[in-house]
Symmetry: C2
Subunit: 360 residues, 2 copies
């Protein structure tokens, strides 16, 4: 099997299906399971195992297809099973990176939906995957259905990325967009975003910028080949944006969004990187992004500006992106993936140094 | 070598560079040559040969680096050379598909920038490439720097595409956008687009819809696995759009763009596909596309709407996309690419059957 240029899902006659195991049966795990067993499921994939700490209880609640799979509450059962790819959808309370490492060591490929695993352990885990002759893919961990990982890693592989501006936190975007709509304060917008399932009851990690910063650190690895920890990224909170700020932004023909920014001066080895609520003009690609949408403007030396957008949250969007990774691994099982060799920038600067900075 | 998730250009120590030959030294060939030899060129690639019918004359006009390469006016010299990948950038007057076939038969991988080669011969050539254990890639043939091929073939490989609406002809877009700006007739806009290098002196194939239809036929293969010839796609000309039409569109808070549309009803096996000048609302992703920009809204069953845009014309944008294909082949030389098995839709319908049709 190799990678392909025309879409091959369903077009590989005689190809034995690739056995898939699922780690975690929360909202995302459920969406992945439904995606892989529902109508129109990728025909090259065969979901056989599900691990969850409360496997028995959750299995009991499933009907037909899913109930008939092999459920377990012991992670080791998946490691010793014959599944070829594990999908990491475990909740934050479990040691996801330990699971990913153990799976790779056991000769499984892994698709992770977990941004923190990639942001904090991505480089080492990719090296391990290469050594094991297996793949670790993470398209669904950053951007949801917005294909920013594919565009940076593949489409722009022959170009030089100069800068990325992006909405990476679906929850923050839903809250800020709702504030603008309601002309109300942030508490009402948070309540509304929670009611729609776009944000957690406590969205402070989204509003402070931690969610976007974790994703932005992965973007810096993909775009510039740089090692940047989320903690090194300057953040300004979006929690203190007020209705008056939106009024002012409207007078300037724009609105406010949480923007994650990175640009890299290769000659000086200076990375400028930050997450902050920013004024965005009505004509920018960001002003029109509502709900839990994600968007990115990627500026490359030769391609110029590429703009992408898509649903950044929602378990179905994440499941669809994870399925794309699974299909890629299934059709290219033999590929050995060279791990990245990341460099450290000489200097990392934040928002205050950046000419585009327009704090609220 | 395998495919990679972090960007690897420059990160593969000890990796021998992949030898590349260039077919055709027109504007696109020149841009590819500069891209592969200029500052920041992908370090895994080594341009060694250039074929052009007027090789001697063109070589004489080059300075330093390019002049020192191996130039030839005999295509066979490239076929028998030790280059591993050929970039097809030959002008329309030459039999590009014959060249691509001969290159694959000689064991070379091929990156083509030529939409007509892919639209008319893509399926057979991809089958040949698979049989030869080589790759044929064509990201730069459709959409320029807009990564529509990557998004359809890779990012959405695990999803089901339902519909695509797109601006695929950079020249048509530049002309229509300019008419709107100038509030003038089409002749002035054509002259302006020509002056900027966005359109040929005779842009009738763009305005009639042939350019977009050829690209749309490839989109149908990628998105739906369908075999659709450009001739089967209904087209309405954009050459008869008048300044009054733009005035009317402005009154409705929108403008006019040449839109290429395809949606596929899988249950009934009915493909609806057309190219026509359409009213697009100011809030659509299309109204803001100016100059030779391309844009696409892809609707998938699980991912929802994904919007992408980028420069659709210009030799630098094409060269950057072609370089991305070259890097992908260089880092995955061993991959065998399964060819698509395309189906024929039971029925192909055009614009008149489509509820969204809003002819000018």
């Amino acid at each position: 099997m190799g990678l392909n240029s025309f879409q091959t899902s369903g077009n590989s006659p005689g190809d034995a299906r690739c056995r898939v195991g699922l780690l975690g049966f929360g909202p995302i795990g459920l969406a992945v399971a439904r995606h892989l067993t529902g109508p129109g499921a990728p025909p090259t994939l065969n979901l056989t195992h599900i691990y969850d700490r409360r496997a028995r209880e959750k299995q009991g609640r499933q009907a037909d297809l899913l109930a008939g799979l092999c459920w377990t509450d012991r992670f080791d059962d998946l490691v010793t099973s014959d599944v070829e790819i594990l999908v990491d959808a475990v909740p934050a309370s479990e040691p996801a990176s330990d699971y990913v490492r153990a799976a790779l060591l056991a000769g499984k490929s892994v698709v992770t939906t977990n941004k923190l695993v990639v942001a904090h352990h991505g480089s080492k885990l990719l090296t391990l995957a290469e050594r094991q002759g297996r793949q670790l893919r993470f398209s669904s961990a950053i951007g949801g259905a917005m294909p920013i990982v594919r565009v940076l890693a593949d489409a722009l592989a022959g170009d030089r990325v100069l800068a990325v501006d992006a909405i990476l936190s679906g929850a923050s975007n839903a809250i800020l967009a709702r504030m603008d709509d309601l002309d109300g304060d942030i508490d009402a917008a948070v309540a509304d975003a929670c009611a729609h399932g776009y944000a957690d009851v406590d969205p402070s990690s989204d509003l402070e910028g931690w969610d976007a910063a974790a994703k932005l650190s992965v973007v810096c690895a993909l775009a510039f080949g740089l090692r940047v920890a989320p903690e090194q990224i300057e953040m300004r909170t979006s929690a203190r944006v007020r209705p008056e700020d939106f009024k002012k932004a409207r007078l300037r023909s724009g609105t406010i969004r949480q923007i994650a920014h990175a640009d890299f001066d290769r000659d000086r080895s200076v990375l400028s990187v930050w997450v902050a609520p920013m004024f965005v003009s009505k004509t920018s690609p960001f002003a029109g992004i509502t709900g839990p949408g994600n968007a990115a403007r990627i500026t490359a030396a030769h391609a110029g500006d590429i703009v992408i957008s898509g649903s950044g949250a929602g378990s179905e969007a994440v499941a669809a992106a994870a399925a794309g990774d699974l299909v890629a691994i299934a059709r290219d099982r033999a590929a050995i993936v060279p791990a990245p060799i990341l460099a450290d920038p000489r200097q990392i600067s934040g928002l205050s140094d950046h000419q585009l900075a327009e704090a609220v």
